[in-house]
């Protein structure tokens, strides 16, 4: 599978009050086509700087960044990328429909069904009814939806999102997650940052932990949680209630917390009793592992 995005030994430092701050310290990672890559880290860890160097908004970095094989310094490399910032600043004197048409023009995309295409994306984000209202009259959540529609309307190969679900209500979050999953199914790659680890677990195939400008690890959520936990929650069916069961979910369906070492013997026992497994999940959440890693790094708070 070819790479959508590749960072090779990328470093960027700032000088603040005479002191040098390493915003990015020798970062290397890659995102494959069709992959959803989440970037997680505390405030000031370097998440937004990573996006800014990727998009060449900050261009004086060390190392190499390539987007679909093209140098990120080359403006044409952004032809396949669309970006949604954390707090989208959209021309407030325009309407959502005009903003989407503007995006098509800036990407040099000409379509005979321009209006229909833009309305389709506004409908996808449930803002078609506001298509002709000025942006300044929309709520923060709706502006966020316009920003997402503005990114999707150009049908990018790689979608770059900075905190994509912030500012959205639960319905909006669900809609956006569904759209992102559809986008992934259609072959798109996503790079996103988030503070909300539950979102990362839901969306990302793989993610990177960044802290103090250093990439601590890149793993899949399941890999990381499995590595940092030796306990599992097992849901199972049984004809009779087993001894010391943790929780009865409903008649004949139970949940048990079991350590990795106990697991083989426990499974044999369940099999002998005629029960069967519904599912097994790690007992530790991504969030607790995140805190654990940050604790190991000497970081106490997010």
């Amino acid at each position: 599978m070819s790479l959508a995005l590749e960072f090779s030994s990328v470093s960027k430092s700032f000088t603040k009050n005479g002191a040098q701050i390493d915003a990015l310290n020798n970062i290397s990672f890659s995102v494959s086509e069709r992959e959803v890559f989440g970037f997680v880290g505390p405030n000031g860890a370097g998440k937004s700087t990573t996006i800014k160097v990727m998009l060449d908004v900050i261009s004086d970095y060390k190392g190499n960044i390539s987007i679909y094989g093209n140098d990120a310094h080359d403006a044409s490399s952004r032809r396949g990328i669309a970006y949604v910032p954390e707090s989208p600043s959209i021309y407030e004197q325009f309407t959502p429909l005009e903003i989407l048409k503007m995006a098509l023009r800036m990407y040099g995309i000409r379509r005979t069904d321009e209006n229909k295409h833009c309305m389709y994306w506004l409908e996808q984000f449930s803002i078609a009814q506001n298509a002709n209202r000025k942006i300044r009259l929309l709520s923060k959540g709706n502006v966020q939806r316009v920003a997402l529609a503005h990114a999707m309307v150009v049908e990018p190969r790689l979608l770059v999102l900075d905190e994509p679900l912030s500012g959205l209500d639960p319905v909006g979050r669900k809609d956006v997650v569904n759209i992102l999953q559809d986008y992934k199914q259609s072959g798109g790659a996503i790079f996103f940052t988030s503070h909300v680890l539950h979102d990362v677990e839901r969306i990302a195939d793989r993610f990177g932990f960044i802290n103090h400008g250093k990439l601590v690890t890149t793993r899949s959520p399941r890999e990381l949680v499995t590595e940092h936990s030796d306990r599992f929650i097992v849901r199972f069916h049984a004809t009779q209630q087993p001894d010391n069961v943790a929780r009865t979910l409903r008649e004949g369906e139970y949940e048990q917390d079991i350590s990795q070492s106990e697991m083989p013997a426990w499974l044999d026992r369940l099999n002998q009793q005629g029960g069967h497994i519904i599912n097994i999940q790690p007992a530790t959440s991504l969030e607790s592992v995140f805190f654990q890693i940050l604790g190991e790094q000497g970081m106490k708070t997010i």
């Binding site: 908004v57 900050i58 403006a75 952004r78 910032p85 023009r105 990407y107």
Partner: protein, 269 residues
Amino acid sequence: MQIISDYKIALNIAYRARFLTIGFWLLLVLVTVVLIAAQFSGRQPATVALDIGISATRLLLPLLIVLLVQELFTREFDRRYILASMTYPRPRHHFFLGRLLAIFTCTMAGLVVMAVAIAILVTIIGQNYHQATPVSLGTHYIITLIFIAIDLSTIIAVSAFLSLIATTPSFILIGSFGFLIVARSYSTIIALLEQKHALVAKQQLYHDSLGFLGYILPDLGALDVRMTALYNSINFIPDNWPFIAISSLAYGLFFIGLALAILHKKQFN
């Protein structure tokens, strides 16, 4: 050409920012000033009306330029629209040149509208009194306007450059009008000091100091050739007009080049 997209968007932004209304109010100020000025001269009302009309145009259009620069550049940085603008798949200079072209278009459109309004007013005012030296609203007037266009182009370039280095919006207003006043007046003051030695105590010092400005500023004062139109004579155009016009345009191009270099190096941290 992709730069056309930037240009059209910039024009659209200017339109949405009510620059047509602003232009209408500036035109109204011009018409009022011209009509009032014509009342002060019984013998040459058309000449005075044209003179004041040109002066008002040369003051009002730089104001329009500053407002446009603030809308299309400064506001872009202040409202952080620039972060989205810079992520589009096109080089940074497209953004700058597209907007610069839009400002140029709006300014030149303003110049044409004001020039037509002045011409109509002067014609109407001139009908009531036959002057011994009639004004020229033909070729000489067009030549005067072309020189004003060169003057305004230089101001657009300097003002756009200032917007990239400015830390406050007022800096563009102060910087642009500061540049305009000094560049348009220093050669006139030098000429005055040369003619009237007793005008100031340290005449030579003043003369040398102002003379230094000639090395760092274009002589925009020399681009004011309104006497050609006022007195219907081509003799008022300075002999070295090609040098003056080219040096002013070159000065503007230098600042556009400098602005592009700054924008290219600019880090949006």
